[in-house]
């Protein structure tokens, strides 16, 4: 049916009756097969954007197409092309995992035989075969998310929306989910639109990251480019003896300008990039300066956020009163 | 003994404060009022049944039941409050701080009486507005005394259950027996007109005697007075022990 289309958003706005705009005119573009990370604090407008793109909430103004279909005028076609795992793992506690999959499959028009086959396949894919016939009420948070993902994939959508998929999960479940999302993108070529408040998640999973704050996109590019824009890595050395401090300063200053460091330590920004660390070690060794601790710090997406908005990402959501509640 | 009353006073004051800051405190009156309106409104012709002799009329007949219902439900529902206090951790702090823990029970009972006064007044006002006549010889104090005793008994029951279970699961365990006790009694007609299994059950129900005596007081025609007060006293004694038992179990659980 012609070439695959991704997501195209133009000046999308969503207002609620009271309060400021939840989404204040965003433009973005996600290529087919890409993993796009939408990063921002609580209340930034991430979930509202996802609700609009999945046709669950109408935009106040602006346009968007998903898989080539207009979200307002061609809702059913959009819904047929996408899968979504939204913030609330909205499940029925009295049904089993398998029954959820069968119901979803039935509603998508799969025949009885296909439902069984597809259900089994997805249960295996997300690692829920053993728990498949237990009621969801007994599932852990991680299991519910996995079922959520399986349900989103029932009809093999080309575009997948994941709204904060790992919030509240233990590290193990989180890694497992990341592995599956990567696999879907890499092997199956699924386009993934992922929202998160976790830097690490965006950093690890996303090909490109859009940083959203108070309804507007403040930065958008690959994680590497965004971080490089902000600054270069820095190195921090703690001298073994207090008396050696001046010597450490002397050596390190060759590699870049000094910046604030932890008490007792010395830090400089590496003008030559992270590779310069090896040179620093060699130089310290050559001058016979001993250090108790040597550390390389790279700017994080939090630094990017800080630079763009003046606030730190972690904890930024608490300042905002913006209500993301649905109309 | 000073600690006992101090604790009771503190608990009661707090509970009463909670009542006045939450309008829902009158809620125990709603069900009885509803039934009162439904029965006194819809069933007055039952008073025409041969053998139905109640001097004060059918509305008054229903009013007494509604009143006792309101004070009993209010009393028992104090248990919900107590269960809530366990769930939010207040009860534990209370038990740690109280110099005399029995005072806690007294405190809740006192607060419950305050509420019963309000709900009882509400029910009475509504009954008077619907045209309930006040006949001569009406023994006000007798009626109030029984209502007070019923309230105390119900509160002790609810408190015991709540302290035993210490969660909102106490709800159904409190509600169901209270319902049964209130309904398996001469609700619609006097005991003499009941037949079949319900007559047997009603006769065994201690509440029946209290209800009959209360109705007698209202009509100025005292009946079963001695048995009603004796039964009330016994009930309160037994339920006080029950409440203490609940308290002990709560203490042990820490």
């Amino acid at each position: 049916m012609g070439q695959e289309r991704g997501i195209e958003v133009e000046n999308l706005v969503r207002e609620f009756r009271k309060g400021p705009r939840a989404v204040d005119g965003i433009d973005l573009r996600v290529e087919p097969g890409e993993v796009y990370g939408f990063l921002g604090p609580n209340g930034a407008g991430k979930s509202t954007t996802v609700l609009m793109l999945t046709t669950l909430l109408p935009p106040t103004s602006g346009t968007a197409t998903v898989a080539g279909y207009d979200i307002v005028k061609e809702g059913p076609q959009v819904r047929a092309s996408i899968g979504a795992a939204l913030q609330e793992a909205a499940l029925d506690p009295f049904l089993t995992g398998r029954e959820h999959l069968h119901l979803q499959a039935a509603l998508h028009g799969l025949s009885r035989k296909e439902r069984r086959r597809r259900g089994q396949e997805l249960l295996e894919r997300v690692g829920l075969e053993e728990a498949a016939d237990r009621r969801v009420r007994g599932y852990s948070g991680g299991m519910k998310r996995r079922l959520d993902l399986a349900l989103a994939l029932v009809h093999s959508p080309r575009i997948l929306f994941l709204d904060e998929p790992t919030t509240g999960l233990d590290p193990q479940s989180r890694s497992a989910l990341w592995a599956e999302v990567s696999r879907l993108a890499r092997e199956d070529g699924v386009t993934v639109f992922l929202t998160t408040q976790y830097l690490e998640e965006a950093d690890v999973l996303a090909d490109r990251v859009g940083i959203i704050d108070r309804g507007k996109i403040v930065a958008e590019d690959t994680p590497e480019v965004l971080k490089a824009e902000i600054g270069r890595p820095s190195v921090e050395a703690t001298p073994a003896e207090r008396s050696e401090r001046d010597a450490v300063v002397r050596v390190l200053s060759e590699f870049g300008e000094e910046i604030p460091a932890q008490p007792g330590a010395v830090a400089v920004r590496l003008s030559g990039g992270a590779a310069g660390l090896a040179d620093v070690v060699r130089a310290l060794d050559k001058e016979n300066v001993r250090v108790a601790n040597l550390r390389l710090d790279e700017p994080s997406l939090d630094d990017v956020f800080l630079a763009k908005t003046g606030r730190s990402l972690e904890g930024a959501g608490d300042d905002d009163e913006m209500d993301e509640a649905q109309a | 003994m000073g600690g006992f009353f101090q604790v009771a006073w503190a608990v009661a004051a707090r509970q009463v404060y909670k009542y006045f800051t939450n309008p829902a405190f009158l809620a125990p009156a709603l069900f009885p009022l509803f039934f009162f309106v439904a029965f006194a409104g819809g069933l007055t012709s039952v008073g025409d049944v041969p053998g139905f002799e109640y001097a004060a009329g059918y509305i008054a007949f229903q009013y007494v039941w509604a009143l006792l219902q309101a004070v009993s439900m209010g009393g028992a529902f104090t248990g919900f409050s107590i269960a809530g206090d366990f769930e939010n951790g207040f009860a534990r702090r209370l038990m740690l701080a109280a110099s005399n823990r029995y005072g806690i029970i007294l405190g809740y009972t006192m607060a419950s009486l305050v509420r019963a006064t309000m709900t009882g007044t509400l029910v009475t006002v509504i009954a008077l507005l619907t045209g309930m006549p006040i006949s001569g010889g009406f023994d006000f104090f007798g009626l109030i005394a029984l209502a007070v005793l019923a309230n105390i008994a119900a509160t002790l029951f609810g408190a015991g259950v709540a302290m035993l279970l210490r969660t909102q699961q106490a709800g159904p365990v409190i509600r169901t027996p209270i319902f049964l006790v209130l309904f398996l009694a001469p609700v619609f007609v006097p005991l003499s007109l009941l037949t079949g299994w319900i007559e047997a059950v009603a006769r065994l129900n201690p509440f029946t005697h209290i209800l009959q005596a209360a109705r007698g007081f209202l009509a100025g025609d005292p009946t079963s007075v001695a048995s009603a007060f004796t039964i009330s006293a016994i009930l309160i004694l037994v339920l006080a022990l029950w409440a203490v038992y609940g308290l002990r179990r709560a203490e042990k659980a820490g």
Binding site: L86, E88, F94, L95, L103 | G41, G42, D48, G51
Partner: protein
Amino acid sequence: MTGSSFLTQVLALARRSTVRTMRQPAVIISALFFPMMFFSINASGLDAASKIPGFPTDSYLDFAFAFPLIQASLFGAITAGSDLARDIESGFFDRLSLTPMRPVSLLGGMLAGVVALGLLQGVVFLTIGLLMGVDISSGLGGMFVIVLLTVLVALGFGGIGAILAIRTGSVEAVESAFPLFFVAIFLSSINLPRDLIEQDWFRFIATINPISYLVEGIRSLVITGWDPQALALGFGFAGAIVIVAIGGAAASLRTRVA
């Protein structure tokens, strides 16, 4: 892949509604136990009422038999309504909306569940009633009609429950409607025939309350036999409620979904 047909959707959702109800034994037992308990307490407590001059039958048990059926229908409707509200509240409705499912199918599934429960209640109560000694004047045929009318009433109440659920999207709101309905049931001829209600204001309310006619329809089958007028009024009101309520629910759905 193409979407599914309306029938497939309703069947899948009806199956789900029924399964989840069956998996809550507490709900089933309450739905069957409480109405029966109230019935037996009420019926025996008010047995003397059959001695009121002008009372249409000498068995209050027969007279009151309509009560558990109506009360049970109400209970079933509120339960189904709060299940639907829960689906909306939890986001399960949104999840289902992302499939080709037509929202009206969810309504259909929920109502199918109400009908199934209503059928179960009708049959169970009829059986228990007969064992308790209720005498159904209209015979075996009448029993079928009783169950039919009960199911229709359940459907009507179910539609009202659905409107509440869709409009409010809140389980709490739906469940707080229960007492109101309960009151409405009592402000009818459920306990006494209308002509024996002495208080004018009460009799007036009972006369304009559609529930009175539902009750009287069922009751006529028990104490009178075949009473065309009572049946016409009973089925007429039940049918009207069904049409208005389900129509209202379907319309409310349209405004809820984009």
